[in-house]
Symmetry: C2
Subunit: 92 residues, 2 copies
């Protein structure tokens, strides 16, 4: 079973487009590694939480900002395929 990502977003905040954008970035970069990305509308205002399987890898309320896509890809890469190069999205 390939890893599953969930992006839980606040629909009333208008964050669907942002969540869908990030889903497409992840599915483009990790097309063969991921089992899927779920867009999940939250019933709690201000929610923007990204999980990989059951592990929360980003929570906007904790971070105080939205995730940077480059860093998000590094976090996913480190968990699903640590050997993978992300090209110009890679470290440093």
């Amino acid at each position: 079973m390939k890893p599953l990502i969930t992006i839980e977003y606040c629909p009333k905040c208008g964050w669907l487009l942002r969540a869908a954008y990030m889903a497409q970035e992840l599915l483009t970069t990790f097309a063969t590694e991921l089992g899927g990305v779920t867009l999940r509308p939250s019933e709690t205002g201000g929610t923007y939480i990204i999980s990989l399987n059951e592990e929360i890898i980003f929570d906007r309320k904790e971070a105080g900002h939205f995730p940077e896509i480059k860093i998000l890809k590094q976090q996913v890469r480190d968990r699903v395929n640590p050997e993978k190069s992300l090209g110009h999205s890679d470290r440093p």
Copy 2:
């Protein structure tokens, strides 16, 4: 538990953008009715299958074409909230 939609698409066919578009249409129209929409890359070429919970509601290989968004919304509406009006996307 709110109903979950899965869009399984063929990444090698370049159908991620189409799947993400339809996910956003459904999540906009059914923001309060759906528990989520999952974008799932298929390992089988030519796959474009939309399921609601475990029920397949559209299969491109059976239909011979992609789903029309208006009809897809009607199918989802009929299952998750039959009383809901879809405005100009609605029947006659």
